[in-house]
């Protein structure tokens, strides 16, 4: 489909009103903003999924019978929950990144882990730390008798966790999890500090080149409201689908 007339309309809009949306009529800006949008969505999807996995696994390990494991999980939560995500990002990228680079045959230094990968690792661990605590709250709300019943039926600890405890705890945790994931979607913007070409980073480049700060700020705001809207909508659908009548709200 040829969208040229639409793009040209935005050029006309700039001429007529001064609203400078180069991301529509300038081919280079359009391409980089679209790439930025895709990078943002990929980053958010990767972080959402892996942070929930971190949360589920972490909550299980928290109930371990081995003290060192419980202590390790506790240490991880304290470290990631008590430090600002931006500091963590800088720490991973600039401090750890230095030790994770190698020399090529030509003698050039090349980084082993890309900035995108660092952002996913760091933000997943950050949000994951909160998710562990959210799931713990859900697990603790499941009546003790239910677990005892599972044990009486011969379930191992892992199988009881996967088939009985987690499904029940998950329903209780969902509203809090929802909150944390919405926060995570928005927190991905800080990865522009380590030059991950996501939307805020690209918008910053564009407004530096085109000097259209108010326009780009509004574009970002509208896109983020919609992206978070989609996440909230999916989570609500999920909450409703998982609802067991008579069991919690």
């Amino acid at each position: 489909m040829d969208l040229t007339p639409l793009w040209e309309w935005f050029r006309w809009l700039y001429g007529a009103t001064g609203v400078k949306l180069t991301i529509f009529y300038d081919a280079f800006d359009r391409q980089r903003f679209f790439d930025g949008f895709l990078t943002s969505v990929r980053l958010q999807a990767a972080c959402l999924v892996s942070s929930v996995v971190v949360g589920v696994v972490g909550a299980w390990l928290q109930g371990s019978r081995l003290k060192p494991v419980r202590l390790a999980v506790q240490g991880y939560i304290q470290f990631f929950r008590n430090t600002p995500p931006l500091v963590q990002l800088y720490f991973f990228y600039f401090a750890l990144g230095y030790y994770l680079s190698y020399m090529t045959d030509e003698g050039l230094r090349v980084a082993l882990v890309s900035n995108f990968a660092w952002a996913v690792i760091c933000l997943s661990l950050y949000a994951g730390a909160f998710n562990v605590e959210i799931f713990r709250a859900g697990i603790e709300a499941v009546p003790k008798e239910t677990i005892e019943a599972a044990e009486a039926l011969g379930y191992s600890r892992l199988r009881a966790y996967v088939y009985i405890l987690l499904p029940l705890a998950f329903r209780i945790s969902l509203p809090a999890l929802n909150n944390n994931l919405v926060n995570l979607v928005k927190t991905t913007t800080i990865s522009y500090a380590i030059a991950v070409p996501e939307m805020l980073y690209v918008a910053n480049q564009i407004w530096s080149d085109e000097v259209n700060v108010p326009e780009m700020m509004n574009v970002l705001l509208v896109i983020y409201v919609s992206l978070v809207g989609v996440v909230v909508w999916i989570m609500h659908k999920w909450e409703r689908a998982l609802r067991v009548p008579g069991y919690v709200s």
């Binding site: 280079f28 600039f94 230094r109 030059a195 480049q205 080149d209 000097v211 108010p214 509004n218 705001l221």
Partner: protein
């Protein structure tokens, strides 16, 4: 839900409109009344504007700012700015004057009041490892190069030579990223590299490409004051700098390689007077 979204959008638009409201005019009077002039300058651009061991901002441009303060008979206050916020700081009235290594570009002239004549000029080059063997700009195609957020030439270099930019806020971040191999080279003002190449830390690096896109630097006041008394005052100041050769003197003081531009401007200004 839709209504709520609309409400949010309207709020954002109102906030954006507020941010662009012009600050009160007549900066010159305000400065004299206050007894203080606030100048926005770089703090990470050695030797044009950087922090000395005590944390004070010093350099070529802070010295220019000091000249302005001296002439006005007021105290000087320096505010550190970076490329991506310097014009906004000026628009919002956080600074009275911006001397921050800014190239003179037509679209910038629509946002801030760039004062004629211009005071310096620089071109664009790449700092890269000698082993990378860069000989032509075309070799940057598809390669990761580091840059500074807000530099005007990032886009043309990306467009023309197909370089893949990873840009950071300040020079310290770029240095680290370059040294640990996150990019093959750093595309930036050639004037910023001269100082570095003299340093042992960068002995394996070179600036081997021909300098491109040589552009003059302009200092700026708020757009609506360019033709006003404050703009006129600064314009006369720059003319005087060129005539007396003060900028060439500062260039020597900060050990910046002599620029052909300053020499030309100095000679022209001398001729105009005689």
């Amino acid at each position: 839900m839709t209504r709520r979204l609309l409400g949010l959008g309207a709020f954002a638009l109102a906030a954006a409109a507020l941010a662009t409201l012009p600050a009160a005019a007549q900066t010159l009077d305000k400065i004299k009344q206050r007894g203080v002039i606030v100048v926005g300058s770089k703090a990470d651009y050695k030797p044009f504007g950087f922090r000395d061991p005590s944390g004070k901002i010093v350099g070529f441009e802070p010295d220019m700012a000091a000249d302005v303060a001296k002439k006005l008979g007021v105290k000087l206050e320096l505010e550190a700015v970076v490329s991506s916020n310097r014009m906004q700081f000026l628009q919002q009235g956080k600074i009275d004057l911006m001397i921050a290594t800014m190239n003179d570009k037509p679209d910038r002239r629509q946002v801030v009041g760039i004062i004629e004549p211009l005071y310096y000029a620089s071109g664009v080059n790449v700092l890269a490892a000698k082993k990378a063997g860069l000989k032509t700009w075309e070799q940057l195609k598809g390669k990761k190069v580091c840059g500074i957020q807000g530099a005007w030439y990032n886009k043309p270099v990306a467009e023309k030579y197909g370089a893949d930019f990873i840009s950071f806020k300040g020079q310290a971040e770029v240095e680290t990223a370059l040294l640990q191999g996150n990019c093959i080279g750093w595309v930036y003002d050639d004037t910023a590299f001269a100082e570095r190449l003299a340093d042992a830390k960068w002995k394996d690096y070179e600036m081997s490409l021909p300098t491109i896109m040589e552009e003059p630097w302009g200092l700026a006041v708020r757009l609506e004051e360019r033709e006003g008394p404050w703009g006129k005052f600064m314009s006369d100041m720059i003319k005087e700098w060129h005539r007396t050769g003060r900028l060439i003197e500062l260039e020597k003081k900060w050990k910046i390689p002599a620029s052909a531009y300053l020499k030309k401007m100095h000679e022209e200004a001398k001729k105009a007077k005689s």
